[in-house]
Symmetry: C2
Subunit: 304 residues, 2 copies
Amino acid sequence: MPKVDVTACALAFRDEIKKEIEVRVEAGGPRPKLVGIIANKDEAAVMYARWTERACARDGIQYELRQVERVDLEDAVIEANEDPAVNGIIVYYPVFGGPIDDYLRDVISVEKDVEGLNHRYRYSLYHNIRVLSDLGNRKAILPCTPLAILKILNHLGAYKQELPVGEQLAGQTVVLYNRSEVVGRPLAAMLANDGALVYSVDIDNMLIYRKGRVNGTIKVEETEVTQDEALAAADIVIAGVPHPKFKIEASKVKPGAIAVNFSQFSNFGEGIEEHTTFVPAIGKVTIAMLERNLHRLHMASEAA
Amino acid sequence: MPKVDVTACALAFRDEIKKEIEVRVEAGGPRPKLVGIIANKDEAAVMYARWTERACARDGIQYELRQVERVDLEDAVIEANEDPAVNGIIVYYPVFGGPIDDYLRDVISVEKDVEGLNHRYRYSLYHNIRVLSDLGNRKAILPCTPLAILKILNHLGAYKQELPVGEQLAGQTVVLYNRSEVVGRPLAAMLANDGALVYSVDIDNMLIYRKGRVNGTIKVEETEVTQDEALAAADIVIAGVPHPKFKIEASKVKPGAIAVNFSQFSNFGEGIEEHTTFVPAIGKVTIAMLERNLHRLHMASEAA
């Protein structure tokens, strides 16, 4: 099987957003505006900002990159929070690294959090709450990278459209390498919400995420299953380990499985594309989801 | 100079709280109730829970320790959030370690967060917001350990009572080893809010925290000052480095300074008590502040 290029998947979303924006602009409405704030010299961040700028330019979205010193970052976020011309804010991490960056994520107002990473949105996600009733029934924003991965899985036919929403991944096993609060753990919860059995692997151990007995709840369990056993059973393997030496041996993955890599490094060993449907990179869809979240926040702010 | 025993400082607060509780109980009111939730086997956590239980018993506070599996911790917190008989919740960390523990901190409702560590309270602290106007003008809760350290500094005469509030540490230099989100960074901000010039040291670098030009703001700056220069200038040195080998050489600390250790290890080298006012441990005052925060939350819930 060939490697999967997700460009078409990304463009399908972007074309739709572009069209909707043009309709609104023609009717005299403003274009959505995204502000990126960068306070580091991280190459990956600079590149991601550049790609975002290019995608926004094509799709009729205003994008402004603001460069600040790290000690001024919180003030820059608050300024953008308070500016009615700004619809979405994205901060490029790491800045301080660790808990101070987590703190900063929560300073972005829910009205402008295109990344869907503040605590309100994450809590909603973990509890399958779709609408924030105390915030004018605004829909919760889902984090871009996990959302992009779901869209790619859907694009590849992993979701069974004939089943009801919330059960479309029922019967499918996922192994997911990464349990960060920005991708791996929300993604595990989202896959479980959609009916999958998810083995969540981090550096210390493996946990199981699956639907709880009560609708809208997730059950997290310790497990005695080994990583190799989980891999052998998995219909979908997703990896985002930020280390160049981490490799999942291709021979351990079930033939015919879907393998998705979202690390900056290739987390799968040689030959993976020979017996799986292999997605080597997802960045283009992530940017499409960023635009999608911005468009939604923009529409919600216009409606408010 | 002898080592400072903070027992008297702690008891002064506890006696007052105990008295206030008794008055309310005699008038037919309920006792405040604190729930501790433990999901690890961490020895320090078990010990802290035991000390808290003992202090609460003496002071007329109900304390209940709940043992749960880590995968059930979030549900246990939500259950306690929803139980009107519970006034305060303390979770003993680390559980998962890192960002998942940070997430859990924000699950505790602001009405019951005795540790003052959720994002609402930390944001208020960093911006010197004392009252949460959207939550019935409830007063923001300050985190126990930083608050305990301020109370100890006050007890030792570091605060100049003749100066207005917010300037009582003006002219004083502090070196603070630790920039965690649970102690070091909030403490740096609180000391800066009170007028001190604070050198905040973490494993990578040193930052300066001081009052901003606008009242109620803090200015954070990078600095070229070396740690030794900062130490030589410091009237107050505070250390909480969780490593047995980390030692501040006594000879580098200015004679007559106040030295406070809040690590589980002794962060100061031999001889420190000979030329400083040395506080080797602060745990008793931390527990007193936990009681104080609980008492405040209890009174606020009765008033609501």
